[in-house]
């Protein structure tokens, strides 16, 4: 058994250069002046008043443990990291500023986390021993902003006490059942639009009036007046785990590796045709899972509301506003890798003039499970955000190139 503890402070060197200089780039115009497209330059970026190092102070306490004749091993670590003077975006300034807010050492961040790794290995006796080992790795961390100059308490930027990854949104309250309910509910929901004319019909979404002002809106967008929004989830991946194992008996060997995330919320978000289908763009893909789960008078409990085009795309539309019901649980468990193989007996191999030889079959990403699959199976929880910058930059969430399933059959030979 071993006990470890460490404490230290480091600077962050991972910051782009020339942040302290006013620089003016020269670019060719898209406009024709005097018969040519001349070069132009314009006002430099606004630089911060004084910069200093971003310092991360880490306290780490850990233990390494080996028990039962080294068959059981355990490594555990707990750490807390305080980042002082984090180099980050400044507070949003009024539009009349006319430039991007200068970055600066504006925030402090505190991260707490832990890591555990447990392993077990063993070997039976005899002429054909069975040896195996398994290992479980589990880790988690959580970051909180402890300082940021945000006197208005705006929730679209950092604020003191904010947990990194928090998602603000409206809370769903089912669907409007019928015209009577639409006429009598008495809560003005016109801030969130169902169409250009904004006439609510049965099957449209009801939102909860959290602050009881009979109006659904965003208030002042601040902590003291968030309207009807609240923290509905957190997008940071939590409880990341991996589980791997190896077995070997009589020249036959098997290994596997599972990997996943225990908790993570995902808002399908902007231009995500794979999730929203026709709700995003009516001429777009029609995922079968969506088509079979659309509200109608015969199917009033469907997952998706009344069919309306562009409601997941246009600003402030019914499905475009972040809301609790369609927040996805993007936890997952994936069999990343499994290998089955056989080492040819040494006697056979040596006769053929080889040192050793093995044949094997490997599969990658063969199986995945995620709670999200209950509603849509079109997205890969491991690469869920954004789109591939090489293939279709900016095409919307869920448009990343998915992880491929691959199978490999191999022969591995080493000659003397």
């Amino acid at each position: 058994m071993k006990l470890r503890a460490s404490y230290g402070t480091l600077g962050n060197g991972n910051i782009s250069p020339y942040q302290f200089l006013e620089t003016m780039s020269v670019t060719q115009m898209g406009r024709i002046l005097n018969g040519i497209r001349p070069d132009y330059t314009q006002q430099p970026n606004v630089i911060p008043n004084g910069l200093t190092w971003e310092k991360a102070t880490t306290l780490n306490i850990g233990t390494d443990l080996a028990l039962l004749n080294n068959r059981l091993t355990l490594t555990a670590d707990w750490y807390t990291r305080k980042t002082k003077n984090m180099f980050t975006d400044g507070l949003p300034l009024p539009g009349v500023f006319g430039a991007t807010e200068p970055k600066g050492n504006y925030a402090d961040l505190e991260t707490k986390g832990w890591e555990v790794s447990i392993g077990w290995r063993n070997k039976t006796n005899g002429s054909k021993p069975f040896s195996y080992d398994v290992r479980l790795v589990l880790s988690d961390n959580k970051s909180v902003i402890t300082r940021f100059n945000n006197p208005l308490g705006l929730i679209n930027t950092y604020y003191e006490g904010m947990q990194i990854g928090d998602i603000w949104g409206f809370v769903n309250d089912g669907y409007f059942k019928d015209q009577h309910e639409i006429d009598t509910r008495g809560i003005d929901q016109s801030f969130i639009r169902v169409s250009a004319a904004n006439k609510i019909l049965p099957g449209d979404i009801k939102f909860k009036d959290l602050n009881n002002d009979k109006k659904i809106n965003e208030g002042a967008g601040s902590l003291s007046d968030p309207g009807d929004k609240t923290v509905i989830g957190n997008s940071s991946p939590r409880y990341m785990y991996g589980f791997n194992g190896n077995m070997d008996w009589n020249n036959i060997f098997v290994s596997f590796f599972f990997q996943g995330i225990g908790k993570r919320d995902f808002w399908p978000g902007a231009d995500n045709s794979l999730f929203w289908g026709a709700y995003n763009r009516p001429y777009s893909w029609q995922p079968v899972d969506v088509m079979n789960n659309i509200w109608s008078e015969e199917n009033p409990d469907a997952y998706f509301p009344r069919m309306r085009g562009y409601t997941a795309l246009n600003s402030r539309a019914e499905l475009q506003v972040t809301q609790s019901k369609y927040l996805q649980n993007a936890a997952y468990l994936r069999l990343k890798n499994i290998t089955l193989g056989y080492n040819l007996p040494a006697s056979l191999v040596n006769k053929a003039g080889m040192a050793n030889a093995r044949i094997y079959v490997t599969g990658q990403n063969l199986w995945t499970w995620s709670p999200m699959y209950k509603y849509v199976k079109t997205m890969d929880p491991e690469v869920i955000e954004g789109s591939d910058p090489e293939l279709n930059d900016g095409a919307g969430n869920g448009m990343s190139y998915p992880m491929l399933k691959t199978y490999t059959i191999g022969i591995n030979v080493t000659f003397k």
């Binding site: 406009r31 132009y40 314009q42 300034l93 250009a196």
Partner: protein, 579 residues
Amino acid sequence: MKYTLFLVAGMLIMSACNRDLDLKPFDKLSPENAFNTEKDLQLYANSLYLDLPDGSDIVRGDALSDYLVGRTLSNYIYGTFGPTEATGWSWSALRKINYFLEHAGNAKITDEAKEHYTGLARFFRAWFYFNKVKQFGDVPWYDKSLAADDPDLYKGRDPRTLVMDNVLADLDYACSHIRNTKDNGASQITRWVALAFKSRVCLFEGTIRKYHPKLNLTGTSNDWLDKAADAANQVIEGKQYKLLTAGATDQNYRNLFINETPNSTEVLLAAVNNKSLRVFNDANWYWTSATYGGRYSFIKTFINTYLNTDGTPFTAQAGFDNIPFAQEVKNRDLRLKQSIRMGNYTRDGAMAPPDFTYTYTGYMPIKLAVDAKATDGVAENFNSLPLIRYAEVLLNYAEAKAERGNFTAEDWNLTIAALRQRAGITGTSLPVTADPYLQQNYFPGINDPVLLEIRRERGIELALEGFRYDDLKRWHLGNLLTMPYDGMYVPALNTLMDLNEDGKMDVCFVEKIPATKVPGVYYFLIDNTQFKLSNGASGKLQLFGNLPRKYEDYKYFYPIPYNEIILNGNLVQNPGWTN
């Protein structure tokens, strides 16, 4: 000797240190080396031009106007619109200008050159603030680039009078210091451009103060109108520009819009497009595609204002609303055939009647698009589009003088008569009776026959060029945006119609699409909800009567984006707008 060596070595090391640790990027300029020579100033000043509208902006300029109807109605007049949707509170162009003004003085060049570039920047600042004032009314005035901790970031709005006086001062400086040369490429700001723009700004300000008594500035209106007339007159007296009349009477007008090289006989400033430099606009795509474009077409009420060739109003005859398309477009102001598809209009050698897969009314615009079909589905039009042209200067001059009450017969001949003669109209004498059609449909309360004709002329001459909504605003006629949308006259249902008399049938209005169709004919479904005929089974097309439009008085001033009100508590929202 030994010590000297150490000293030299030490100096070398130290100087090396300095150089290594204080490097500047090689691929960028810094404020110290960007404002020294005239070339430097030119390099920066080029960036100011990026804030002028480009060709594709001009094409969309009249999307919100009273004379066009399209696929969708603007949510400004139909549906929900509020501060959360509001845009346009962008100030980076102003920072760019003020930053230049703060640094250009450091250049080691002649005073004349300094003043020229200062004038240029101040022209652009006037352009910037004129647009802000038109959109929002009162706005905060800044003549410096703001630091991140400047308390002025959080100031409230300045009164319209202060901002517009500053705009005027900027323009006066620009007019007297920008170099006085004509740009035959029509791409650069010259003194002539500044004067013409000044006439636009002053006419706007003079008339909005006159027709919006709520601003409490009616007493200052005449002063601005005089300035408008004076600035326009300087351009006229300068004799550098004139109306383009060199070619055929039925082509001169449209030649201003469909050619690659802007015609600097008449055009002072253009968004220049060019095929070999690959600078394009999307006019053809926008004006022919049913899905990409807005499907905007003129309404009949406006088309009715085009005069007959002899100078008499089309609306003077009885039953002017009951004439079939092919007949009503004959013998009209020649700008009509240069603005819409009609008569013997052809594309790539084939007759091209109004295309009802695009148009709703029959009056399908062609003014800004070219006749070749090659760019109908791609943003590669290379026709240059005017931003300021001499015809506008004449119209500004005429209107300012008429509003001021000192418009003469000589002025009439110089302005409106000249524009009409260019359009092939023969009878162009000074009008003596007020046109009742204009009074009823457009300008109730205006009794001056000349002013009515000036406004008619402005609508027709500058149609689609992005002036209309501003004109309606300053005339206090925003409610015209809610006028009924009407289209061409339909003599009978289920009757094939030939719109360009080429012997081929083009369109048929039906209440039910027939099972067998005549090839080449578009069947327009009269569903009696969105699309109706005024007498039921015949009459004028009536469009979107089921969608109620509204233009309340508070909409003259656009809302400040909601987010900005939150960020700056001193910024007060325009009255009437709620979140």
